[in-house]
Amino acid sequence: MDFSTPEHAGPPGPSAGSGGRRAAGRGVAGRLPWMLVLPAVAGLVFLVLPLAGLLIRAPWPTLLERLAEPHVLEALRLSLACATVATACCLLLGVPLAWLLARVEFPGRRLVRALVTVPLVLPPVVGGVALLLVLGRRGLVGQWLESSFGVTLPFTTAGVIVAEAFVAMPFLVISVEGALRGADQRFEEAAATLGASRWTVFRRVTLPMVMPGVVAGAVLCWARALGEFGATITFAGNFPGTTRTMPLAVYLALETEPEAAIVLSLVLLAVSVIILASLRDRWVSAA
């Protein structure tokens, strides 16, 4: 029953959109511009159609017993935990990085800004190989980690978090940096003239001002981490309970049992839609 949610999440899209348009467009007279509406509708169909495909092909009669299989819950729990911890790590490192890029002038800032987006353009599998070459057992840093602390990241749950954080962090940084650059700096200046230190200004003025940007970035980051496949399977491997997240389980199920893969995909989809929708409501009403 829960899995009808994505179905409902699809169709309300356009109607919610038209409702918003009615409210927002109150001041503008005239007919709807078809030059915009037609491609918009085509775009929506393009995005929703694959979802409809999953729903139509889902093995509904055996859905419940497939879901009850322990390995499904295990993969789901692992996916949610890893994506959440990865997002927390990204917030800890990414928000300060975004602040640095937006507020501090330093030579080579453009280059650094471009470097931050590297994980976005890098195919995730390549990202995974790169992580192995640096943090692997024979990697530049990994070698030292193992000899000094006895820590190896590949094939561990920590490795999954590292891989997810690597590919997801740019989403957070770009979103927060955009918010910072759009925010009015006069408030920060006013606080500074009143004697606040830069840290206090950041904590009491800047951060609350860009909070919507931080939240949006964190949501994107979490969603990207949840769906992460390439870097995870390359860097962290694939073992049930420790590193087999839902996308890996889906890929493996596709090898032999496409129906099971559809069920797993729907679970991942339903859970992420429920979580994102409930978060969104909370933040929209709070704002």
Binding site: P11, P14, S15, G17, S18, R21, R22, G25, V28, G30, R31, L32, V37, V41, A42, L44, V45, V48, L49, A52, G53, I56, L132, L133, G136, R137, R138, P154, F155, I233, T234, G237, N238, F239, P240, T243, R244, Y251, L252, A253, L254, E255, T256, P258
Partner: protein, 267 residues
């Protein structure tokens, strides 16, 4: 009110979407129109599309060149990948002429869907223990893999090399806890090449292909888990006769020479 999106603007795409989907649904078992149109597009010049297991990458590429030389104007296109994935792609209607699988089970997916008839076993492949060049964990027999300190990579059981690994370990009565179950044999071997694991069970042919980077160790139980590679022309082969001629080349003495040189065994 005139600015509201008309109802049909929502209804139309939804209807289109449903029509498209139902079309896919009913069209799949009888995909003849698709196959017909793609054969027409293929044209007389001749193009053979071969779906082959990842472990055949080197040998089939070589045989493809031989085939093109023998049939001027013909192109052989390859899709190499995990046999299970390829089988699914064929069942979903991918326009292929020949399927060469790394296990009878994956070929069965295609024959069960009546998309290929009478596959022939053309080679067999055997597992070996692959270890990094310097063999850090000093592995020299299958039993060493049970040591908890030895990091082992295996293929996932869903893909042929993983199924063979389970069979071999069962035959030896050993229980190995791998650190990872990789999605195909090449990914498993990469983990050894990079030194991330101490040992892996992969095909002998893969060890030969990576000579210089990994060392292969034979083990007697591998004989209990020999993988047969079946090949078949597909029922809806857009290339028609050319498909059969490519299979003939693989089964010929010339084909056998190329395959055995790479470490495959004759069936």
């Amino acid at each position: 009110m005139s600015r509201r999106l008309p109802r049909w603007a929502i209804a139309l795409p939804v209807a289109l979407a449903l029509a498209g989907l139902s079309g896919c649904g009913s069209g799949e078992p009888a995909a003849t129109p698709d196959a017909g149109s793609s054969s027409a597009a293929g044209g007389g010049a001749g193009e053979v599309t071969v779906f082959a297991a990842a472990s055949l990458t080197g040998t089939f590429t070589e045989l493809g060149k031989t085939f093109e030389a023998a049939h001027p104007g013909t192109t052989v296109r390859f899709n190499f990948g995990s046999s299970a994935t390829l089988a699914q792609q064929i069942v979903q209607g991918a326009p292929a002429d020949v399927f060469a699988a790394a296990s009878p089970a994956t070929m069965k997916t295609v024959t069960d869907a009546s998309l290929a008839a009478s596959p022939v076993t053309f080679v067999r492949n055997k597992l070996q223990i692959a270890v990094p060049k310097d063999n850090p964990a000093e592995v020299d027999e299958l039993k060493d893999l049970t040591d908890a300190k030895v990091k082992v990579a295996l293929c996932a059981e869903q893909v042929p090399c993983g199924a063979a690994a389970v069979k071999a370990l069962d035959a030896a009565g050993l229980k190995v806890t791998p650190v990872t179950l990789e999605q195909d044999v090449k990914a498993t071997l990469t983990k050894v090449e990079l030194g991330e694991v101490d040992a892996a069970l992969v095909y002998r042919t893969d060890v030969i292909a990576s000579a210089g980077k990994v060392t292969g160790i034979e083990f007697p139980e591998a004989d209990q888990a020999i993988n047969d590679y079946p090949i078949a022309t597909l029922a809806k082969a857009p290339a028609g006769d050319l498909a059969g001629q490519f299979v003939d080349l693989v089964l010929s003495q010339q084909g056998k020479d190329v395959l055995t040189k790479a470490g495959f065994e004759a069936p």
